[in-house]
Assembly symmetry: D3
Homo-oligomer: 293 residues x 6
């Protein structure tokens, strides 16, 4: 169950309205790595968790904070839109270059659809979608996804921090960036703990029997491009991070197989095949079957 | 530039057609973490890279292999569909339960749209989309995304491995799983190398000035749920993975702020506001402005 | 801010796993009118509200309950999937018709992608998307959208109620259907209260000056089809619900206008126009401009 | 069957081209509540209707008019685009701020994709999609959806009315707004008629047996937020609009249930579970089954 | 303007309900090449046309027929769903293999969302979307798109024809297939007429000055694969269909260019670059700029 | 298999950065008819081909070149973004109209999401999607789709050519336009060759038995609009392009059928029907069945 309190975790009031900035802030709210993604991702991972206790508690504990971040951003965006211009034809743009810039730089649906309110979309107006989240049931894979999510999120917030001088917006971003610092650290720690406790390990999933994979190519770097520096990294020689092999380097594939022959599906699917008259055009019967008669 | 060779990296021929399995294999081809995602993700990261040399070579080297995996899966799926049934009404289902199961379990667009061919969609028929990929320009964030991608991919291939006894399909999956093992290891090694060389570090982005974030909450675990085990992990006390702080644990927020007042946008957006008669209904002029006259 | 409690509002445990039912329940979780839609819709309406007090409190009060419903459904679905089959080739279907039916009727991504967990998708596997919600800033329009949402939601839950005999699922549905009954009533009451208090009225938006609309067609029923019964309803004669007019009935349009001439955009957009040689093919200059020289 | 006449229902010629306004008008054509939505929604409700006669005639009668509105808007947009600029690099923007504003404010696909023509997209360029419409087979639910659709549509048209001074565009909007006034009234009247005739009633669906819902919570307002004004409305005490109960007010839930234990799906899905070594890594066999041998 | 008549162009009544077939028929209604696509494509091409007269009349004349085909298919689908089963748990599937097959093979949203009605989606339940249509303003390109649309449509209808023995459905398909035959012929004739009249020609757009393209590669077949038969076709030697060149064949590229150096965007975007310490971490100032002080 | 070479097929370096142009170029990369579409379309057609030899070689040969075009465009776009502005609030726009124009005209996700890199989206930021491609298994239909794809692609490149004076961008576009000229010619030649060789013919699919279609309407032009010029074209009289019929012209339909009665699905779907009390509200049992007891 979720309970709501009509307070915010941190000040979320801009120094002044700025419709262009409101549009940029939508990325942090409804983008691929926005707060809706983060909140829903941790929620679904918790609801689908197979182990009670600390790992699931961690998902619930952070996930619920993130729903509050969704709220903070939505409220901040609504305030940034408070003076969004209504007069917006070419005529207006012609008379005032500043207004022209705002018209071009704002999200027009903020005015037309939401009446100067926040929306569940990214900075290009693409609606948020469920396919942004990852919840596989495998915690090491998912915590890695979470670490990635917090990295991309902090990166985007840091970029937008530089896109404004507004003191109020920068304060909120400072706070969110700090929380992203925390959560990057937490998922990194939690992933390490899963491995230390032997709950899960590299390669993920660690309990798929290694004997069932084609082990001879499990540690070969097959370079399908012609970059000369490709073999200089720690990924081309030396021990592998999963502790189970040794990297080797190869120009191109070490295996190959002839292309199988083209397929011959049922002629009644009317694909183009080498025997184009396979169906009797008068009766619609496959000729192979005709001869059976 | 890409050059194509009419050979495959590995055998991709099923023991026998199986339309239900063809649908499942679509997840590995066109799903959120399918080979199209992986190939395009590495491609865009390479094309957008800011450093020449080993990191970019790695992206090109693996990315080009992955385009070949897209091809292997597409060809395998076409073969699995070679005997996909054409007769598919309820009537057919009634007469033969096996046929009924196939009808229910196959992707009907395989027959109707592709004439028994592979499609750029996932196992539920959702078209692949560009928003599946991540290419941020920050290599530590992106290599973490890549490690996650290879983990989810290996996990899904391992699951499908158990969903079939087909020797040919299992062989291809064994091969792809082994390559995922390799690539998980490579991105993990590459992420470590970025940190070891001081090119990038935690928290990502590491060159955002720490003084610009709200440092007092950068290492606080604020637990917004009521799980008793939440503080038992290495994420609630002790040093943080970024080496720059010490975790602390808190029940709920350590900061709070009153909700800002509701916004009052231009009344000509016709939002519901506390002064509903703000527009003069006869003239359409805002009353505040009327009194100015 | 949102706080989470590791309890549910109501029992959400099925009598036994049922992967086919799990797929159907996804409609109530991640469909166009599922709980994610409802929770997010009320959230965004609250965050964008322009009036403090009872109307916004109502949005927060119900919205927060709905996030808990998202959780209940996700947890129920995970339990329904607990025995989802892993062996799923045509071969399996052939050997066991029941298994064949389950394979056809379940959502394959439940197993492959989520490892037997709930997903933010509808019963056909379409990801939830932000364009499902409505938050316009106009409360009478939005409360009407909310009443519609609760009606569609209760309708779908009632349909699924009949699709199962599982006692646990039916109990949860009984509870959710009862809450939908409540919320239908609340939004209907709240819409009436907005009108009674003069905050908003029909036609929405009520403060758009009526003098600016083409009043002569504001109450004409223009029937563009040939149904004989079209004029029998209360929508074809008598006073209008907004209290500002009288319905009248007409076969087809009462106004018409000739089609404007086709447009002639810049020839450098290479549209097909009546003067196809408008661009000089050697120089690429528009011929009109050539003659200017 | 539909028959087309090369005339428009109303004048749809702008005073002058305005590419920025053309983009805004797309919301009324291809947006969530644009004319394509409205026309298709009434069409599908009519085609799926279960009762012949006045209700279905109403759907056909209005729906067919709306297809003509789609045409009027498309033609108007094409005219607004007639002088859309072709030269559009940064260089051009630098030399002429007005051109810069137009470049920013217009939809670039209008020029690149449609050659200065209308498109089936909204004002942010999102393609129209089938999930915008509602056609449930339950007329009271659907007529409520229709009333909402006409409210949102009139609201958006009224907003855009204020965004331009173009006489021709304003005339068309005046006409469309008047038709929205009519249709809001009609669906409101039709919903009332359904209830008056006993065909359908609140709560929708009215023929779901009330005894099958959890009646004790059917009229309780459970406030999951902390707003003090939440109980002041007519939705917290007094008789309910469905005439079948009495509202009561409660702070938070009146029921609760412990969280069910986490799920334990088949280990061959490789989710992270409390018994990580459940699969024998050499053989791939589930250990439980090993002991069976 | 569109006028509706409550008659159909052809009989659209199935011999008996068949929920599995109803799902397949959705492809013809709401798929990528379904009737909604075709009707909307011709509509938008007509509304955006730049020439009055026979070409635009053709678009209107066929487009309006297609809206009636949308209706016929929707009504047929609703009838096919008339006996769609409501009881649909695993339990039901277990007791009756036929029911199990129907459950797997039908579109569950037909029951849950539409109450046994047609929907604007394809046979996998993907909503129809505006990006399926093509309307570029260039008639030769668009008529080619139309010919392709009618070919794909006839192909899919022919495939579904073989998937059923239902006499009523087959009759409707016979009719639709015949109309597709007609429209394939019409667009082919119209494309030829555009060329014969000199209105447009190959290569499209024909009025782009040839001197502005890199003519030396305009007729070279550059084979980037290793297929031995690649040069055997009429596309590798001899005169070109546009009458302006002669095909030549080449193994691989005839031109090449070194890869440009990686980009160096503003360091405040925090991409990973060769000079990772470019920003002063204490002040957030770019170091290049520091030295300017 | 695909092999990558770190060279480009042609120079792809702009004279100078231009963020507005970068956004426009996205259409050619990730739009409906961008290079990703073209490359993937030819790829899937090759992988699904049923005939070995020259036709499949052609698909592989061109398709592989197109993957290199994806790369050229991505690299060009990254360079165009090299100086994309970071400071982007309204404040900045106010101080500098040029900057304002750039802010409005650029794709903000280029900076926020990709750190000044290319993205797999179109010029409005819509993600590329799998439903853009066509691969039906029928080569005449698909080659027609390919010809259309190359026409639309050349058209869009020609439009963008006029939108810039940048010498580097124009050179790349000249090259791509020339390759589109080639590929338009190749698919046209290949379609003709399919017909000449009798592999496939009009109407597509040519091996669907003509006797199974409603031949009496196969060559009738049924004009559902009122355009006077509709019968003037070669599509209304004379021999048909498939060589199997003679066009005839008709005002409106030559056939008609009464609308079938509305459907009566299971009342437990709670659709609105003429017998609203069909379910016993106390027991939930269908009354018809009650009387059976």
């Amino acid at each position: 169950m979720f309970f709501h309190k009509q307070e915010l975790q941190f000040t979320a009031t801009p120094a002044k309205p700025d419709a262009i900035l409101a549009r940029r802030m939508q990325e942090l709210l409804g983008g691929q790595y926005g707060e809706i993604t983060i909140a829903m991702q941790y929620g679904f991972q918790a609801w689908n968790a197979h182990i009670p206790g600390k790992y699931r508690d961690l998902l619930y504990g952070i996930g619920s904070e993130e729903f509050g971040h969704v709220e903070m951003l939505a409220i901040m965006i609504a305030q940034l839109l408070e003076k969004a211009p209504v007069e917006q034809s070419e005529e207006a743009a012609k008379s005032d270059p500043v207004l022209g810039a705002i018209i071009g730089g704002m999200d027009v649906q903020h005015a037309i659809v939401a009446g100067a309110g926040a929306r569940p979309v990214d900075s290009n107006g693409n609606p948020w979608q469920g396919s942004y989240i990852t919840a596989s049931g495998n915690l090491l894979a998912d915590f890695t996804a979470n670490a990635n999510g917090e990295m991309q999120g902090r990166l985007q917030a840091a970029r937008i921090y530089n896109m404004t001088d507004d003191k109020g917006v920068r304060e909120l971003l400072s706070f969110l960036i700090a929380r992203d610092t925390m959560h990057q650290n937490q998922w990194t720690a939690a992933a390490a703990e899963l491995r230390a406790e032997g709950v899960e390990d590299l390669p993920v999933p660690s309990n798929f029997p290694l004997g069932q994979e084609q082990r001879e190519v499990s540690y070969q770097y097959l370079n399908f491009s012609d970059g000369a520096a490709a073999k200089d990294g720690s990924w081309a020689s030396g021990p592998t991070p999963d502790g189970k092999g040794e990297f080797s380097y190869h120009d191109g594939p070490t295996t190959s197989s002839p292309m199988p022959p083209p397929t011959q599906p049922d002629p009644r699917l009317f694909g183009t095949d080498p025997k184009p008259n396979l169906i009797d055009k008068a009766s619609g019967v496959i000729k192979d079957k005709l001869s059976d008669k």
